[in-house]
Symmetry: C2
Subunit: 178 residues, 2 copies
Amino acid sequence: MEVVVLRMGHRVGRDKRISTHVGLVARAFGARGIIYAGTIEPSVIETLKKVVETWGGPFIVEVKPSYKAIISEWKKTGGIVVHLTMYGENIESSDVLEKIRNSGKVMVIVGAEKVSADLYELADFNVAIGNQPHSEVAALAVFLDRLFKGEELLKEFEGARLKINPSSRGKHVVKIDE
Amino acid sequence: MEVVVLRMGHRVGRDKRISTHVGLVARAFGARGIIYAGTIEPSVIETLKKVVETWGGPFIVEVKPSYKAIISEWKKTGGIVVHLTMYGENIESSDVLEKIRNSGKVMVIVGAEKVSADLYELADFNVAIGNQPHSEVAALAVFLDRLFKGEELLKEFEGARLKINPSSRGKHVVKIDE
């Protein structure tokens, strides 16, 4: 399954670290890439690219001006659109995840505090990772963890310079010579 | 099972929003409360308390000076300590979660970018939500989601003023009169 994340509603300054975490989660939890819609600090993009250089990929990072154009383009390729929102169908009590799994191409949209109302209509599915206020970083992680059934946490990344050997104590980092 | 979250290594200014998200995730994913070790902006605490007033509890928010004292006090009550770190045992490929489930009281520690080296020894378990760099917000959410097997997303909070009716379109918020 091909998954791309779309981050919307980023507020320059205020959301810098949250949007960076969204990008890191997209990569670590198995998405093919992330698209930021609108204006974003170059340092967010640089941080993500450095992580890909060090810890491997492939992982695409893009910035595009219009979320409407991004969504419309994605739909033309046959992909579905999932909007993560606390107002949506609860992933735990509904069959929404099973419906989403029927698609081979999924765009996952995560907004900041407020998103444009039209998003609820543009999305094929509005999904809540619980109907309580929490975090778009958390919502994305849990959604992808459930979508990929945990297998994403064992993914081997290509071209990594560093790799961790899991350990019950301390830090075991291995340098990869190529 | 009783779960408490300990947030360490908060950096004033820089980590304000991330630490707020950590607190919101702790509440939304079923922890009994969160303790911040060290110095933190009062606004983080106020935000969390407002969320509890509006969306319900119980959820305890505390600030204490010393993480060592917090951990030692917890251990005296028979609780175990789980440190979430990208260097730890991978939750997907190890049996660490089953071992943790044997305990009735779990303290989950999430650090900021760098944590004190002694934490790897103080913790009973060092657990990685995958061995890739991502986010303490995401790590906490996925850990709790797996620990509680998803049931935390259906939790009913007490004393809430607002509640969401899950919906495939739009926002359906219900005011609760008491």
